[in-house]
């Protein structure tokens, strides 16, 4: 190789007969990935250090005396690499057989079955029949504390979990004890994972079923779950996640990689808080009329009556939004306020706030934020002012007694009494659950939750992120952007937005902070708002 003192930025090598050019410093494993070849690996994880100990990612590099671990061998100019040569395949088959010597093969009762890297690789390349005749080693099950259970017999000793706690959580609570084939993962004496803030990630990164979630234990088979790209709704950091659903219920949340936001990780708090998405007893149908006059109505009737009421309404309008609602819904509420002849009497939202932030030391971008709602930043960008205390209560005195129009979107008003809105000339409640404070509402309109609709949030980094629909909503619930969009459109004499992307386009036109952003540009990785707009 010509060395003129300055090294080239890329190297070109031949991999499985194909020429590949990759940046200098790319591992052979990633170089293979770039041509669509997966080199099997267990101990290597892109978010952790590479100890090169599982030995299944060995590949043949021409000129090297032995097979080389592709996770730590860097691509070099002119290298000729074979990931699938007879020597490499034979070695992989051998390593897989070693893994199975003591593996219990209890796939039928293992939660990891269906997404297990041992299962996958053995199906791909393993021997047809095992040769192990000896009884298998038995370690049994160990409660690691927190949400984590350890099945030592299934463990492949990749040490990803130990390294995650050491390097990413920087909270060394797991270690390897004993050595050789007697080695197991364990906690330090009685100090387990209880009380750790990010330990749930060890379940995600375990390539087999050695570390499983107690919450998810025997709850569903992996192949029965639908995966929907979404955003964690439990704090304003907006970790990218997937909703794993079955039977129209969220079964678990899993992090979705996004290096700009959460890396490969999410916090235990966010992960554990999903049951509310499955909460029964939802508002099923629109209702009109106050108190004893309350009656169910269909959407057409309800909206026609509401349109008439809004057109005739007197006084200014007090808007109560919620930071659990999408940007599209909140922008719809703002637009509706702007169409009212009496002008606005303020926009407020409330949100529960934790006392402290919880950072992930080894991936400092990820912080469990104080705001325990997904869209407080979006609400503030759209002109809503924070009200109430850190429990998300109080602060609605003005709206409760307001004499003009009151519109409540998404706030369940749990701390408010039946007298809420008693003075209002028109009180509209758009929510997911009925509440005592909606007794005086002239209109009660059922809307969908974030899990049941498409939309976007703005996270604490000033990043717009989209989420998709993972659950089927109750019969008559509609996305708030659609309900509000229809009313605004009627008042303005224009077309109703037909989809969340259309609603977003209107919001981007109306609000300078979102200027220039398109639904496509936000994509599934999100897009940053212009910094001045957010912080200016």
């Amino acid at each position: 190789m010509a060395d003129n003192g300055r090294k080239a930025e890329t190297v070109t090598l031949t991999m499985d007969g194909q020429e590949v050019t990759v940046p200098r410093g790319t591992s052979l494993l990633h170089a293979a990935e770039s041509i669509g070849t997966e080199v099997p690996h267990y101990c290597y994880h892109p978010g952790l250090s590479a100890p090169a100990q599982c030995r299944i990612c060995l590949v043949e590099v021409e000129g090297a005396p032995k097979l080389q671990p592709s996770c730590v061998t860097m691509a070099a100019e002119g290298q000729v690499v074979h990931t699938d040569s007879p020597a490499a395949k034979r070695m992989r088959q051998g390593v897989l057989e070693f893994y199975l010597v003591n593996h219990p093969l209890d796939c039928p009762i293992c939660d990891m079955s269906g997404e297990c890297m041992l299962q996958d690789y053995v199906f791909d390349e393993g021997r047809e029949k095992g040769r192990g005749r000896e009884p298998k080693r038995v370690f049994g099950r160990d409660d690691f504390g927190g949400d984590v259970l350890y099945y030592g017999d299934r463990c492949v000793m990749c040490t990803r979990c130990v390294r995650f706690m050491d390097e990413v959580a920087r909270d060394s609570r797991l270690t390897v004890v004993e050595r050789g084939s007697r080695a197991v993962i364990d906690t330090f004496f009685d100090r387990g994972l209880e009380g750790a803030s990010f330990a749930g990630n060890v379940v995600d990164i375990c390539p087999v079923g050695a570390l499983v979630s107690k919450d998810f234990l025997h709850k569903a088979r992996a192949w029965d779950l639908d995966h929907t790209p979404s955003i964690c709704p439990n704090c304003s950091h907006g970790c990218n996640i997937e909703l794993h659903t079955r039977d129209n219920l969220v079964q678990r949340l899993k992090p979705r990689e996004n290096q700009e936001v959460n890396g490969h990780w999410m916090c235990d708090y966010g992960r554990a808080n999903y049951e509310w998405m499955n909460r029964p007893g939802r508002l099923e149908a629109p209702a009109v009329g106050r108190g004893s006059d309350r009656r169910a109505a269909d959407w057409r009737e309800a909206l026609e009556l509401l349109f008439a009421s809004l057109s005739a309404a007197e006084g200014d309008v007090a808007l109560v939004g919620s930071a659990t609602c999408s940007n599209e819904a909140l922008a719809g509420l703002v637009a509706l306020g702007e169409e009212m002849s009496g002008g606005e009497a303020g926009r407020v939202f409330r949100s529960p706030r934790a006392a402290d932030e919880v950072p992930l030391p080894g991936f400092p971008l990820l912080v469990r934020r104080r705001d325990l709602v997904p869209n407080s930043d979006g609400a503030e960008l759209l002109g809503f002012e924070r009200a109430g205390n850190d429990d998300g209560q109080g602060g609605l005195e003005h709206a409760a007694e307001h004499g003009g129009v009151v519109i409540v979107l998404g706030d369940e008003l749990v701390d408010q009494g039946e007298e809420f809105g008693a003075n209002a000339s028109l009180f509209v409640y758009l929510g997911t659950f009925d509440t005592a404070a909606a007794a005086n509402a002239d209109f009660v309109l059922p809307i969908t939750t974030f899990a049941e609709e498409e939309g976007s949030f703005v996270n604490a980094q000033g990043r717009v992120q989209r989420f998709q629909q993972g659950l089927r909503p109750p019969e008559s619930a509609r996305p708030a952007w659609l309900v509000l969009g229809a009313l605004v459109a009627a008042l303005r004499g224009e077309e109703t937005p037909g989809s969340a992307p259309e609603a977003f386009a209107r919001l981007a036109d109306a609000h300078p902070a979102f200027e220039g952003l398109t639904w496509e540009a936000v994509g599934d990785r999100g897009a940053a708002l212009i910094a001045e707009a957010v912080h200016g």
Partner: protein, 418 residues
């Protein structure tokens, strides 16, 4: 040379060691300088006595020059290879021989600190060495401004906790740093990133002891013994079926059969020789035929189909049960595997269990193929060579003593005394 003072307690003191010319080596090294000392060791052709036989002078020359970072010399005294007991003798009879060697090595590689990593079970040797080191410090031979030269060299003793894998050079470094004794991936090599992340050189006890003599007499002097490719003398640890087992120092190239028959008084009971493991348990087993013309030097043993290793000659006569011996070895490696790499962690244990089953008379002929295949899968596929070390005796024993295995498998007959 190395064993001259074995059995003479007087050599355990500074005065006693000086009486036989001790500490002249480090004095001369300080006089001729670092480069010249390394050149002397290069010229001597001294090869590492820990088993791999890597040229010592070359290893020393890998250390960075003019680097501002601290350098470390690590002395590997974690002698745990089955059949090996030479370093123990050097330490307990001639501790100053090792201390002087450490001073020479440290000086040559620019280290002001040397760690001697001692095997946990070396109670007596550790005590002797600690006392000698204390005296050497008191005499100004170790510590600040040694021998008035302005050079500082400290020596620290570190006692391991009894793990074979901590004798692997990078496993030793991890253990020294307080981590699990697990070998590290190379590169980076110790000369670039070694103990505590600093440039380090690691040498065996016997290597450093020999370096002390080379520093005193010069490189050419050392070449009066041994062969072109294996110069100098070597301690041979002879154990097993010989009348007089023990440590014997001979020039490299000494004939194996002469060592067994003349020096060690032959095999007891007039039995015939069956097999020899010439270099500690981690090398291929030789049958009697291989032994006949074998000379004990790196190239000589290689020509006979095995490796000199650390020259621990384990002799087995015709009454030996090879299957049992190999099973016993396999058990050792399975027990000592650190467990990082899958082929070693699972392979050593699996092989042990298959061998145990064969020994118990429940083996099949297919098991032999499986054993060979497992062994091949354990060769060259791991971070260190622990699993290779078991693969070699398994493969070579099945190749050379297949009949012993088959007798057990087919007829349940044990060859040799059970």
């Amino acid at each position: 040379m190395l064993s001259e003072c074995f059995g003479d307690p007087r050599a355990r003191t500074v005065a006693g060691w000086k009486a036989v010319g001790g500490y002249e080596g480090i004095a001369r090294a300080l006089e001729i300088g670092r480069e010249a000392t390394i050149d002397d060791v290069k010229a001597s052709g001294l090869r590492g006595r820990g088993g791999a036989g890597f040229p010592t002078g070359l290893k020393w020359s890998f250390m960075p020059k003019n680097s501002a970072r601290p350098h470390y010399l690590l002395c590997n005294a974690d002698e745990s290879e089955p059949g090996t007991f030479k370093d123990r003798e050097i330490i307990r009879w001639t501790p100053h021989q090792l201390i002087e060697g450490c001073l020479v090595g440290s000086y040559a590689i620019g280290a002001s600190h040397c760690y001697i990593y001692l095997r946990g079970e070396f109670f007596e040797s550790t005590n002797v060495l600690a006392r000698a080191l204390e005296e050497a410090y008191a005499e100004g031979l170790v510590g600040k401004d040694i021998l008035g030269s302005g050079v500082d060299i400290d020596i620290t003793l570190h006692v391991g906790a009894g793990a074979y894998i901590c004798g692997e050079e990078t496993g030793l470094m991890n253990s020294l740093e307080g981590r699990r004794g697990e070998p590290r991936i190379k590169p980076p090599f110790p000369a670039a990133v070694g103990a505590f992340g600093m440039p380090s050189t690691i040498n065996n006890v016997e290597t450093l002891a020999a370096a002390a003599h080379i520093a005193r007499h010069g490189g050419e002097w050392y070449r009066q013994w041994g062969t072109e490719k294996s110069p100098g003398t070597k301690l041979f640890c002879v154990s097993g079926h010989v009348n007089k087992p023990g440590n014997y120092e001979f020039p490299l190239g000494f004939p194996l059969m002469e060592l067994i028959e003349d020096v060690c008084g032959g095999i007891p009971g007039g039995h015939a020789l069956k097999a020899v493991i010439p270099g500690g348990s981690s090398v291929p087993i030789m049958d009697a035929g291989d032994c006949r013309a074998c000379t004990l030097c790196y190239e000589g043993v290689e020509a006979a189909g095995s490796m000199l290793g650390c020259a621990s000659v384990i002799v087995m006569d015709e009454t030996s049960d090879i299957v049992k011996q190999v099973r016993r070895m396999a058990h050792f490696y399975a027990h000592e595997s650190c467990g990082q790499c899958t082929p070693c962690r699972e392979g050593t244990t699996w092989a042990t269990r298959i061998l145990q089953r064969i020994e118990d008379g429940r083996g099949t002929e297919d098991d032999l193929d499986t054993l060979v295949e497992i062994s091949e899968q354990m060769t060259g596929t791991t971070i260190c060579v622990l699993s290779d070390s078991l693969a070699m005796p398994i493969i070579s024993s099945i190749e050379k003593f297949r009949e012993d295995y088959l007798a057990l498998i087919r007829r349940g007959e044990r060859v040799g005394a059970a």
